[in-house]
Amino acid sequence: MNQIRVKKIIVAGLCLFLVTSFQNCSQFESAKLDFASSSDSSNQFTCTNPDDLSGSENKRLSSTQIKNSLSSLFSASIDTNLQKIIDKLPNDGGAESFEGFSNIFSEEFLTAMSEISFAIPERIFAVTSERNRIFGTCSGSATITQVCVQAYLDGYASQVFRRPLSVEEKTTSLNVFTSSADTVEGLKNVLAYHLQSPQFLTLWELGDQDVTSNVFDLSSYEIANRISYYLADSPPDSTLRLKAQSGEILDPIVARAEIERVLNTTAAKTKLVSFFIYWLELSTDMDFSQLPTDVTSGITLSSGITTAAYDELSKYIKYVIFDQKGSYKDILTSKASFAQHSELAKIYGHAPQSGLTPVEMTSERMGIFHKLPFLYSGTQKTNLIKRGVIIRRDVLCDYLPTPSTAVIDMRNDEPLLDSERFAMSNRQVIEHQTKNVSCMTCHSTINPTGSAFENFDQLGKMRVREANYNASNVFIRDVNIDTQSVIPLWLGNDVASASSVDLITEISTSYKARACFAKKMYSYINQRKNKSNDDCRVNQVYQNLIDPDKSIYDALIEAVSVSSTKKRVVYE
């Protein structure tokens, strides 16, 4: 790649507004990620006190976590009808992004939980083996005894609460039992109470030692919960529970081994794929119905293509991270494809993959950015701006403020005639729309970055010409594509890029992108925005990403390991 250095010239006399805007767009999320080149290896995480902890509120389980917890606790009892009831839990955003997740126990949420909590015991009692497993054979009697209930409270109930029940909780449970209309209903009510309790619905971290301090040790159960929910959105399995019960999990070496074990479970791998979807803001509901027909020519599009694209992406991520123990560079540049779906394989330009071995993509296509979920656009045009924004904001952690209405309105300052628009490429139209200096404070970075991908159409197919259509999707004419740019990629230094292959290659080896990835990964695992005193721990993740002998897999283990610290601070 040719790299040229172009010193930014701030034209004297620019008004204060523009200077301010430019600075806003040039600074990074939490600052200190000012890398001068891809090879600039300066450590920009501020770590003054490794023991400094970030407080965070106790969080209720997301709907996804509750569903996983219920599945873990009662999988053999969940039939189609019960699953329909469980699916009434509202989509609270917890599965896609912590940023959209609200910690509120909404009425809608509790309504669903109420129905679920009463439906589950009914179903358990309909499956004798399940009833015996959860409540013991004593629950088969016409009249269930308190001893039987006590056995449940001492046994399976601790899996529901993810820790042994307190004396008070057992007393309340027994009161529920004795206050019910009959003993069978009483036992059912006890479980319903446990499932509606905030003890089940929230990941409480209150420690178990009677020490009055704002900073306190997590209990062994709380550490086990962190490991399991951070990695897999699921409750601890039997192995982890035993290590919590014995206290072994308090040993950092044991904890690290458990993290690696849980990371290799199916649930953890599924959550890892979710991280990538969150990280790159990938569209999981792709709609191809508005695409012009010649974009889809030769491709038989069906609803299955979206599933196939995400199935392929999932296999790709797991292959690079788990099978190959790949690096950050590998996830961005690997040529492996698992596109088995014939139409997806056509899009990716290879024969359908089969078996366990990936097929190799063509030389112009590589890594996660050249797959359909990232390249997709459901409209007449490629989503050049979105592609650019994601690379800048999510991959490089550039700060891109939401444009003000005044700036957005400037897009239409000089509307184009149809005859002019039809003669222009998407890139040229966007450059025209955003040429105002106020727009360019951000679009000077977004446009050239997104333009590098213009040789991929809305479906992610390679293309050499770009078609223009009228409002009815009727083809008018085609125009040349230009993917070459001088991209202001690093602080004070621009990079000449012929296409997205150059751009991705440059990013994949950069320290800045890996620092950004460390921040994103740490944030996602902790399900909250990073704070300044997280820097020490984020740096530990980062060190794994820049170490040539380590992989994303190692960084993941490190990220969960440093996040499962024994200490917690009360959050106010």
Partner: protein, 496 residues
Amino acid sequence: MSKNNKKQWYDQRFLGRRQFLMGIGGHMLMIPFLSSLAPRNVLAAPLPNRRLAMFPMEFGMMTNFLRPDNAIIKPSLIAHSPSIHYANLASLPKPISFVFDNTFDDLLNDLNIFYGLGGTGEAGHTYGIFNGSNANVPGDNTNRRPTFGRSLDVIIENSAQFKSSFSGKMSTIRPSTKQTYGVAMFWDRDASGNPIVKQPTMSDRTLFDNIFGLVDIAPTEKAKMDARKTLVADSVLEDINRLKNHKRISKSDKDMLDRYITSVNDLQKKLLDVKSCSKPSITYQYDAAGKKIASFSVDQLLDNFFEITTLAFACDQSRMLGLQNHFGSSAGAGLPHHFDGEDVVVDTNNSGITQKWYIHKIADFARKLKAFPDPSGQGSLLDHSLLMVMNEHSSRRAHSPVDLPTLTIGSLGGTVNSGKYIDFRQEARFINDSTPFGHPRKQLLISALQGMGVARSEYINDGDGNGFGMFSGAQAANHTDFASTHNDPLPFYTKP
């Protein structure tokens, strides 16, 4: 359903309207039975209940047709203050506009038409309209927490939907599953110009079942279930109280637990109220398998939504409605997303007809609420409700947030004035029709919130740090006069 030729369904059910309403009132006296355990500041709202229905429109609404012509209105304006003028709608020549036709003639005392409300937030996009509800603005990861007050049905809830809307769809209000009524209608027009539904996110049958799922349970079973739920809820509250007394519980943890209690209280209240609701004899437009019926009618579907909402309001199963009218495509026939909102030929022949149809449907809904006595015995449902019709365009093809057309219907329990054309342009700063600076529209949303019983303390720290709704960037720049008052209710409109 026509307002004149169809008998109201509540008269057709096996419970008479009188008996039906008495039942609700009787139960209301009994609730909430868990209130003694709830913190004082989260007890159920006082009677009568108030309701808010929001109708954001993603496509351009014809600004010119949503208010009286300037030539008509100007001689009628009465000065309230240097920056606020008004006219009584009843005194204006009819019809007020092409879109209104005569459909609001019997609702003029309930209607308000606003001029000079703007600056809603990010680009005037639909989600910008809801910046007042703390929606997450794309690109802004401040994790705003949307809430309309914890004692209400939370409707416009999840920021993730707003975020996904940025990548293509504009289904701003998240369709929900239970108790919550948030529906986005994606629709188009056929070759004859008739409205057709392309993708409603919820069928009328599903909506009813979600809201009134307990209606068909036998009374003995209901009683048994209620007893079980009460027992469990009481035990849950013991857990909550234990947690709240824990020395390592933080203020935010306590707040979360308080919200749990409030939701449980509201749920228990609903359990009692729903007993009095019976199934209406409406003709569902979707069958049990979720398919459209052979004689599917979008008119009937929308009527059904409004029938169900009316019942949900009356039975206090919901206090909020969000219905977004979304046009499915920018390029298809009918009404494009960025249509030329000031092209009279287009308006009257095409999009204007579509818009007129929808506005008339909303008027029918208001009429339905007005015909239904409030369960409190004080006036009609409409008297205690507020319908807000909003739009994200105000100028040609652009998401200009300047003077976004807004209508309200209802007086929200007498907390706001109605029957007015209200002009908020600040004449001292008035430049021309494309930049008529007026009050920030967030103040209208704040008026609605306060009318709904949400305390100022509940929204003042929300949003972008500037209180409920956005007040930064262009919003602040265009409304510098309101730097210290933008978190206040809208003057003149809001009653003291």
